[in-house]
């Protein structure tokens, strides 16, 4: 059994990016976003056993660098579409832990008033338009949003996040084809953890690799090391500048390691379908450890990092408390929001 994703030498942990290095301020902002996603999910793991959070959670521990990195590069007004593994994406775009935990606890203060839950986190006012629990389903919707930008003469950008399993759905290819045909301003982001629930890529894909399969289409493609935030940022920036120079869709492929079970708060290495990473692999696959190392190498002190962590923990504490105390939507809410 191999650990997926393969470790790669695509990029080093340097601060280099296509248009210069990241400022110290940006580095700490990114650190905060990575930590926010990680600590929110660690908090869910702690709280989940209390059975108050009655929503299936697809935790993204290991995935965070891809949504955090991509979102860092997006121009104002970008609209994003995601999957059921959307926590880091929602938090990166909104920083709204009150709404986030409110929705997880099924309370009226959640963005979906408790009608959405973990799998359908959205924030249209912050550009997170839709997330879906059916694989591949938001991809064409994102393409439609990009078509609308083109139709309305807006120089907008749309990002579609999906997993490697989505590439096996027909609708992915239908959507990619249409976006390339119309040269839409859309960035496809494949978050590849090498697993569709519990089934590995080798058992599912009859082609050599996802980037190679996409390469004949009329779009810009790039691969990032998805566990490395700096690699994600570098490759995203590179793609966005290519899309600017030669208007065509972009396709970013990033591999990452899913540390937990497909759905639920536990590890599942004992189930035998994949092995536990060695401590050395672990350090390489954990985007938070990777980024902390890079931060230290570039002068970030332990004290500064601790301050960020404490501020995030405080924010999460307050939001969890508020969410637990918040009221549920009244029964009459059942019939609202069906039609406009």
């Amino acid at each position: 059994m191999s650990i997926s994703p393969k470790t790669s030498d695509l990029t080093s942990d340097k601060l280099a990016s296509s248009d210069g290095s990241l400022s110290r301020e940006e580095m700490f902002l990114l650190y905060r976003r990575l930590l926010l996603a990680r600590l929110c999910e660690e908090r869910i793991r702690l709280e989940y056993a209390k059975d108050e959070m009655k929503t299936p959670v697809h935790l993204g521990i290991g995935q965070e660098a891809i949504p955090v990195g991509v979102c860092h590069c997006l121009p104002q007004g970008t609209r994003s579409f995601g999957t059921y593994r959307n926590h880091a994406l929602y938090l990166a775009l909104t920083n709204d832990t009150d709404g986030f935990f409110g929705e997880l606890y099924g309370k009226a203060i959640g963005p979906g008033k408790g009608k959405a839950g973990s799998m359908h986190m959205t924030a249209p006012e912050k550009g997170l338009m839709a997330t879906s629990a059916v694989v591949g389903t938001t991809i064409p919707v994102a393409v439609g949003a990009a078509l609308a930008d083109q139709y309305q003469g807006k120089n907008g950008l749309v990002v579609s996040f999906f997993g490697d399993g989505a590439v096996e759905e027909g609708v992915f290819w239908e959507s990619l084809n249409f976006a390339c045909l119309h040269r839409l301003r859309i960035l496809f982001v494949c978050e590849d953890n090498g697993l569709a629930i519990h089934t590995a890529t080798a058992q599912r894909q009859g082609f050599r690799s996802i980037p190679e399969a996409v390469s004949p289409f009329k779009c810009h493609t790039a691969s990032a090391e998805g566990s490395n935030l700096l690699s994600v940022i570098e490759r995203t920036r590179q793609l966005l500048s290519q899309m600017e120079a030669d208007p065509k869709p972009g396709f970013l492929h990033g591999t990452y390691f899913r540390f937990l079970e497909h759905v639920g708060p536990q590890e599942d290495f004992q189930m035998g379908y994949r092995r536990r990473p060695t401590p050395e692999e672990f350090e390489h696959l954990d985007p938070l450890l990777r980024f902390e190392k890079a931060l230290r190498e570039h002068g970030g002190s332990e004290e500064e990092m601790l301050q960020v962590r404490q501020a995030v923990e405080k924010q999460i504490d307050q939001s969890v408390r508020a969410a637990r105390e918040a009221p549920f939507a009244p029964p009459a809410e059942l019939y609202t929001d069906l039609f406009a």
Partner: protein, 346 residues
């Protein structure tokens, strides 16, 4: 202004008027701008509005339906067209998992003003995959509006209303209705919801959808010759269903025949029968009768196909049974008059 036109012309006129009124309206789908223009129902749009607002698509029903949704939540008003409603089955994931639910799942923060037009095929060997109606299937899912116009006026007015609606509307058009002529008042507005009273009577109420309204009117004409007056009520919007007028009619006549253009089993006719039976229990002189497709896939060959579909004859026989009348000799009657106009091939 009032003028006489066919159903297909009424559809094209409605699209033209809405596209003139609102630049966010666009019409797309496979073969929408080709030389046949979806049996003429998109005629003139490409010439007047250009390829940006009237365009063809790849053969990708699911993705194109998702594209319509993405455009709708971005401030546009897409009209997506399928030359057969059967092809919508390829897009059910988008229709059912996304379009019907997305507004609800976002706590009401997104609006989804889109129309999906689809044509029901019949005759000339359309067989099992080009002949379904599916309106009951769509109506089953909360969050979708489902409209089936029968007359040219309804085709015109209800399509305009559907395009202006802020919600997803499935708009289903019977192929044979395309040749029906009628007077269309281009100022007339018809809201989604209320049924149309096509004929007043006192003997029994026929609740009918789509092409079955034509059959019901023929049945009423035949029965009127022996002094039996059917009341014909055309259910034009089946979801959300507005049933007050349907129930009021049955309360008046005391008898109800549901003639639905779909399979009866688990179909929309069962919903109507249940509502009428519940609301009119003490008033009904006979149990509600239901007519629909035979419970088999649609066969190709004409004799079997004729047996598959409900018809005016079936309505006449049902009315006779309910009223305790002997069966009239129908040898001298001319049925299927509209089918004679349909020469295929599609």
């Amino acid at each position: 202004m009032k003028s006489t036109m066919t159903y297909r012309q009424a559809l094209a006129l409605a699209l033209q008027k809405e596209m003139e009124a609102d630049s966010s309206v666009f019409v797309f789908g496979l073969d929408v701008p080709d030389h046949k223009r979806i049996f003429g129902s998109t005629a003139g749009l490409l010439e007047q509005f250009g390829p940006k607002r009237c365009f063809g698509t790849p053969l990708s029903e699911e993705a194109m339906t998702g594209v319509a949704l993405g455009a709708a939540i971005s401030g546009l008003r897409p009209v997506h067209v399928h030359i057969r409603v059967d092809f919508m089955l390829l897009a059910m994931n988008q229709i059912v998992n996304m379009i019907s639910s997305l507004r609800y799942m976002t706590g009401g923060r997104l609006k989804i003003p889109l129309v999906i037009r689809a044509v029901i095929g019949r005759g000339w060997g359309q067989s099992a995959q080009h002949s379904k109606s599916l309106h009951g299937v769509f109506a089953h899912f909360p969050g979708l509006k489902v409209v089936l116009p029968t007359t040219p006026q309804d085709a015109y007015s209800l399509l305009r209303t559907s395009i202006r609606d802020e919600n997803p509307v499935i708009f289903i058009e019977h192929r044979w209705l395309y040749d029906v002529q009628g007077t269309v008042d281009d100022e007339m507005k018809v809201p989604l919801g209320p049924p149309a009273l096509l004929r007043e009577g006192n003997a029994a109420t026929v609740l009918c959808t789509s092409w079955m309204a034509i059959e019901a009117m023929k049945a009423a004409e035949v029965l009127a010759k022996r002094g039996v007056e059917l009341e014909v009520v055309n259910v034009r919007t089946i979801a959300p269903l507005q049933d007050e007028e349907l129930i009021a009619s049955v309360m008046k006549t005391g008898r109800c025949i549901v003639a639905d253009y779909d399979w009866a089993f688990c179909g929309f006719s069962a919903e109507l029968a249940a509502r009428v039976s519940h609301a009119c229990l003490g008033r009904l002189k006979q149990p509600v009768e239901r007519l629909g497709f035979a419970h088999v896939p649609c066969p190709t060959t004409r004799p079997l196909e004729n047996a598959f579909y409900p018809s005016a004859v079936g309505i006449i026989r049902a009315a006779e049974r309910m009223l305790g009348l002997r069966e009239l000799d129908l040898a001298g009657e001319s049925f299927y008059s509209y089918e004679q106009r349909f020469k295929g091939p599609f």
